[in-house]
Amino acid sequence: MAGSTRERARSTSAHERTAPNGPPGLTPAEQSRFELEILVHLDVAYRVARRLLRDDHDAQDAVQDALLRAIRYFAGFRGTSGRAWLLAIVRNTCRTRRRRDWLRMGVEFDESHHGDTDAVEPPERAAERSATGAAIERALADVAEPLREVIVLREVEGLSYKEIAAVLNVPIGTVMSRLARARAQLERVLLRAGEGVS
């Protein structure tokens, strides 16, 4: 049953994508600007979607929807960071999807029950990872999502505070306090793990 609702969701979005009332096209000048300022961030967009949805295919689907929206609203893009702008759209798309899935399942979407980070990684890769890697992943999985999101955007994706604030639509002060909390929690857990090993 879960499979059938899922398939229906897929075919709807596929229909939207080929529908004639799709996004209005970009002018050639806009096309090259879009490629230079937005499309170069496709990889990070895909990773953000993957982390939020924990499924490769759902992530691809969400990125497609997000790009269509980005093309539609590109004329209104005035910011300095195309990366932050695209990621904000990707994140909103993913959150809308998650809420929709949540309603369909009728059960609260609970991070702790909804698969773990290994779900997005092929098992052979997981086996290669070192003990440190595993410890870091476990520690990260225990951090609350708003904190995890911020530390990953900063440390792994290298976004500035200003960009993170734009992606999450929160003040810079909030970015700073979440980062501080994420660091404190991760360092505490890893320190304890390190002591356990030695």
Binding site: Q31, H57, E155, G173
Partner: protein, 262 residues
């Protein structure tokens, strides 16, 4: 600057987000303080660890091709093959009649937890308010709107919040209004009115009161005083390094003004 002032800056220091004067202060401090130097290297190690171990997948080639085609306005962008049907296993407790039992159990626990949580949330809130106050002072971002005129400060919040905080200048009582800003506390944007007593800044956090909110004002934290009142249907929490007596006088005068107004 001492360790207590340096520690909250270390994160912004590794992130290269500090203004030059503070960056120099941090550098000078960690050069002679082992404890802070260690805290700094923990931050750096954590960053290195995350970069080395958090998977950084690239977008699949099919997605990239599709995206390029769509940007160039292709009428029929290359299709992305659907993956083999792969269902995410639902946890057993979702499928079975266990669900109802689970909800009943959860309801019982919620009542038991609720009481403790109210106490805990009061402390969490106090901590958040104090950090917001300190953060504003440390980053120099104290006011978004700088004005001693209540008729400038109050309208500034219009459109930025879905409520309007009661604003009054208490200069006559020795607490001049200095401005206001938006801050983010308790998972929501809140109005902060900035007052001053001599050299001590006072942040007054204001948001709509609701039933079930913590009743008691928590004690001082880390040398900061906190006072709470409900004024004109708003939760008002004052945070300052001012002494307790004067901060109480401040909130009483603030509350009295609106009690009289009504």
């Amino acid at each position: 600057m001492n360790c207590a002032e340096i520690r909250p800056l270390l994160g912004a220091f590794v992130d290269d987000e500090l203004q030059p004067s503070l960056r120099d202060a941090v550098e000078a401090h960690v050069a002679r303080c082992d404890a802070c130097a260690q805290a700094l290297s923990r931050h750096r190690l954590l960053g290195d660890g995350l970069r080395a171990h958090v998977p950084r997948a690239e977008a699949p080639a099919a997605l990239r091709d599709w995206a390029r085609a769509v940007v160039r306005g292709a009428a029929r962008p290359p299709a992305i093959a659907a993956p083999p049907v792969r269902r995410r296993a639902r946890p057993a407790w979702v499928r079975g009649g266990w669900l109802a039992a689970g909800f009943a159990l959860a309801a019982c626990m919620a009542i038991a937890v609720g009481v403790t949580q109210q106490l805990a949330s009061r402390d969490v809130l106090a901590r958040e308010l104090v950090s917001a106050h300190v953060r504003a002072a440390v980053t120099g971002h104290v006011s978004d709107v700088i004005s001693t005129d209540q008729h400038t400060v109050k309208p500034w919040f219009n459109g930025r919040l879905d409520y309007s905080p009661p604003v009054v200048d208490l200069a006559e009582a020795g607490f001049p209004l200095e401005g206001g800003r938006l801050d983010y506390v308790n998972e929501r944007a809140v109005a902060v009115l900035v007052f001053r007593r001599n050299r001590h800044p006072i942040d007054l956090f204001v948001w709509p009161a609701r039933r079930g909110a913590p009743r008691l004002a928590p004690p001082a934290r880390d040398g900061y005083q906190i006072e709470r009142r409900v004024v004109a249907g708003m939760e008002c929490w004052a945070v300052s390094d001012l002494n307790a007596t004067e901060l109480r006088e401040f909130v009483e005068r603030y509350a009295a003004h609106f009690a009289r107004a009504r």
